[in-house]
Subunit: 224 residues, 2 copies
């Protein structure tokens, strides 16, 4: 089903698009020919970030304030820091109504012993998004892809899968098709939204693996 969706025809907004993960996704989607809108609280910063990426890609990458970027996107990726997740989404409920909203936020903290999962009252960032945006179609995805790999222009095979979580089957199909646009990536249905928490949190394990093995690790699902 995912390959029947023309994800290239979508205008994709990336909220938090000036951060590492957001820039990385904007770059890879832009490479695939997608029209990308980078959203930021500061419109000028968004425009500068977008211009830098636009110069490298086949698609069209523009920048705007969060309000405008959310309103103009067909599909909206949330790539803000965990601390900004709730206030950002609370401000954009109207702009995001009716749209597919892809949450890729990982509630992870760091201390002297390394990375760890932050407990979320709603169960996960994705479920918190579903609570804050009851009129949007919430999907969780892109949690485990290293931003360093995404931004590395020398890497043309990301060699990993993107787990796509959600209760709205057609919405997960669209996001799987979007993930398929990244080089070396398969979008794999990964379960319902209530099982998003562990996919977000396992990013802490990947960070621990990166430290131990001096790597930029990812996850492949075998047997499918």
């Amino acid at each position: 089903v995912a390959d029947q969706v023309d994800a290239r025809a979508l205008t994709v907004t990336v909220l938090g698009g000036t951060g590492d993960q957001g820039q990385g996704l904007a770059y890879r989607l832009g490479c695939a020919g997608v029209h990308v809108l980078i959203g930021s609280r500061d419109p000028e910063r968004a425009k500068r970030s977008a211009a830098a990426i636009d110069a490298k890609v086949d698609g069209l990458v523009e920048g705007a304030g969060n309000d405008e970027a959310a309103a103009r996107g067909d599909l909206v990726i949330v790539a803000v820091p965990w601390e900004a997740h709730e206030p950002t989404l609370r401000d954009l409920t109207e702009q995001l109504a009716g749209k597919i909203v892809v949450d890729c936020v990982n509630p992870i903290g760091f201390d002297h012993r390394g990375p760890f999962r932050i407990e979320v009252a709603a169960g996960s960032a994705a479920e918190q998004a579903a609570t804050l945006l009851p009129r949007s179609r919430i999907v969780g995805a892109f949690h485990n892809v290293s931003s360093s790999l995404l931004m590395d222009e020398q890497v043309d095979d990301l060699d990993q899968d993107v787990l796509v979580l959600g209760d709205d089957r057609p919405a997960t199909d669209v996001v799987r098709a979007l993930a398929d646009l990244l080089p070396g990536v398969r979008g794999v249905f990964g379960g319902r939204l209530r099982n998003a928490g562990q996919v977000e949190a396992i990013t802490a394990n990947l960070i621990a693996i990166n430290r131990r093995y001096k790597a930029r690790s990812g996850i492949r699902i075998t047997g499918i």
Copy 2:
């Protein structure tokens, strides 16, 4: 380091060794030439289960009651159902003192919408084991390997990694070497024990993937 450990020289006990996961691990370790003790509350049931596996493997597979099996093992794998996790370990604190205890229990429930993560007060089954067994060396591992694949004698390449979690580095090295004995498996250090919860819970996602893709899925870590 893991390849400097001779895991074949260990006597490995599998508590809950008459269940699917326990039998599967006993079979694969037995195939690798390991001396395996299957533990069960019912010694006769353990002996029957062990005899069935012993007939198929290169190693020696024996059965015994939990007490005896725990006492005789050099390393003890806990593969009991989640409901039995606390009472089983509470009864064996003395027998397990000083030993490497490998927790592979997944606190997962099922309802009409499929599998889901069960919240654990300690954070994870592995951390609950650490609380119950303060004198043992707790490691989390083997959470994500399909028991059906483990038991399938036609499968000679499991094609996945085993994430090994723990705060006792030498203990995780031993368990990585043990995981390396499974065909097509790498034992990969996956972080501290406090990051075990998401590795346990992601088994719910793999079950959802199995249902969607009619598969027996597993996880590979890429980039290392």
